[in-house]
Symmetry: C2
Subunit: 352 residues, 2 copies
């Protein structure tokens, strides 16, 4: 069905008709000039927003719409967890070109709904409009936190331990794999054309065997609520925290700058998955560089007081990779061979 048949309000009604409110704090969802929210007395409200542009943040050649919707929500929720909060509501704005059908947008919404359900989040509003060219997705997330649970980027102190959750570089390797297979596909189409055949007749089967994990990390990231809960259960309060969206080196630089500290991390301690290492080998890339500068891992980077060493080291899926230093000691990485390098923030720059 063409979107123009439903119109803006028809499409919104169609997409939101089955939404069930999960949070008491959602007093009014979709359907008025504003959504109305009420958190319990004393709670702080957290807000974060992301704008995803087709061709810059996602490539619909290899990104299924359901995954895109799921990911667009997860990356926003990740920002709330990275402050120590609980996400509760999102608004979703979409700009769509004429090439999308109502069914396409339903599929995109299915992915968003799935992410919302998993995290107990309500979709409370948004805007749906057309685009002359690519798709744009803008999501704003609201969450709540007690004042004493909020963790900023500026609270790290020298000697604090630097911790990361999960493993790094896998999403970036997944992206490289998808880009490689895309290039092969276009090459086959080109060859078919040269041979006088219809390029649409190319029956291309991308080879993802043994690479499922890195693909999933790229296409279906998960906001790490579990890590926040684990820390809370253990009674460990990070001194600084953020999520790793642009690469470890870039995020660590933010924490150092805002906390007025230096840092010292150990290459051998950076958590890597086996598939990340294999893929880097295949592509002749340095796996540490991928882990430091590859983006979209959506793992948590945080610091804890040195006194928490024993307790934090026992927590599942969290790894201590170094410690904070005085600011004048700079930002350093100790390589596997013992050599010391200056850490440079080379994360993804969306404006270059």
């Amino acid at each position: 069905m063409e979107i123009s048949q439903l119109g803006e309000f028809g499409l919104i009604r169609h997409l939101t008709k089955d939404l069930k409110v999960q949070n008491e704090s959602t007093r009014k969802g979709v359907g008025d000039d504003c959504a109305v929210i009420q958190y319990a007395a004393g709670q702080r409200t957290l807000v974060s927003t992301d704008l995803l542009m087709e061709g810059v943040h996602f490539d619909l050649i290899y990104t299924p719409l359901k995954h895109l919707g799921y990911k667009a929500v997860q990356v926003n929720l990740s920002d709330i967890y990275a402050m120590g909060g609980t996400p509760r509501q999102i608004t979703v704005s979409l700009a769509l070109s004429k090439r999308f059908s109502v069914e396409d947008i339903e599929t995109l919404y299915d992915g968003m709904r799935l992410a919302c359900e998993q995290h107990g989040v309500d979709l409370v509003g948004g805007d749906t409009t057309s685009s002359l060219t690519g798709m744009a997705i803008s999501i704003t997330v609201l969450g709540e936190a007690r004042e004493e649970d909020i963790v900023y980027r500026n609270g790290a102190k020298p000697t604090d331990l630097i911790c990361v959750s999960g493993n790094l570089g896998a999403a970036y390797m997944g992206l490289q794999l998808l880009e490689r297979e895309k290039a092969v596909y276009y090459q086959q189409r080109h060859e078919a054309k040269e041979a006088g055949n219809n390029p649409d007749s190319v029956d291309f089967q991308p080879d993802f065997t043994g690479k499922e994990y890195i693909l999933e990390r790229q296409l279906k990231p998960e906001a790490r609520r579990d890590i926040i809960e684990r820390l809370r259960q253990a009674g460990i309060r990070p001194t600084s925290m953020m999520d790793i969206s642009d690469g470890l080196s870039s995020e660590l630089a933010h924490i150092c700058t805002q906390s007025n500290t230096g840092c010292r991390i150990y290459e051998e301690r950076i958590p890597l998955d086996y598939q990340t290492a294999v893929m880097a080998e295949e592509l002749n890339m340095n796996v540490t560089t991928c882990a430091l500068n590859g983006g979209e891992d959506y793992e948590l980077l945080f610091t804890v007081p040195l006194s928490e060493n024993d307790r934090v080291s026992q927590l599942q899926d969290i790894k201590v990779i170094g410690y904070m230093t005085e600011e004048n000691q700079g930002r350093a990485m100790i390589a596997r061979d013992g050599g010391e390098f200056e850490l440079k923030a080379q994360g993804w720059n969306p404006l270059q």
Copy 2:
């Protein structure tokens, strides 16, 4: 200066370095994973969001960037006022193509800052990224309201008076004027080219004499905080309210649908500005049709109990245009000649 020289974080720092927080409720603005907000105990949080796409919502040929920034903020604030609330914070996400310089974006921000200052609103976060094609602007606004002050769309009752602020159709006429002058400009460029001259040498002076008001209504709309304050001072509580962004007929249909009522409005009572009427005449358009279906007026449409007739009629810049009826009486307009027409929602559909 090219944006890529500063990079994302450099650009954000540059644009936000002079921001002063105006609200006590803004506990943390730009610079972390989330902004942190705390309204006074018992207050409700209102949220609304808009996504503006170049070529769909604005044309940079005739929209100065400062005006664009100003308008993008005002149209969001309008949604908070339309619920009876007070806007306090916004987040701003921008997607920019390479043709914009740092100075361009500063100018856009100047307009946004001006709107924020006028309404006491803090810019607390956002996202800045690139776009392969046109510009995208996504703004989310947060505001607060006491529960008893919030006005929804579903509270209108039969016999309630239908009121509008200001006048209608002017922004649409301003748009028609801009489009007409744009067409003349392109025609002159075309003719220069045909004559073998450089089209860039065309010294085009658009003719806006006597049309300043409708231009301003299109390029520089104002969210009607004054109307909300006036109603509050007079102790008048609307039974339903929304802002007129897609045209009176469309918005009135929303209120009727959500309140389960019909309505009856009088053509002769629809407030029009002189310039709107003159422009409609010039373009051979029916001025009532423009007032009913032209969008972007950002005036307030609301209903009050019949018993408020005397008081609301005395308020400056507010006009009673009709009354609500039982749902089965439909949605009617009484024309100047006494004829009765069915009101059809023909407002702007961004998806057609």
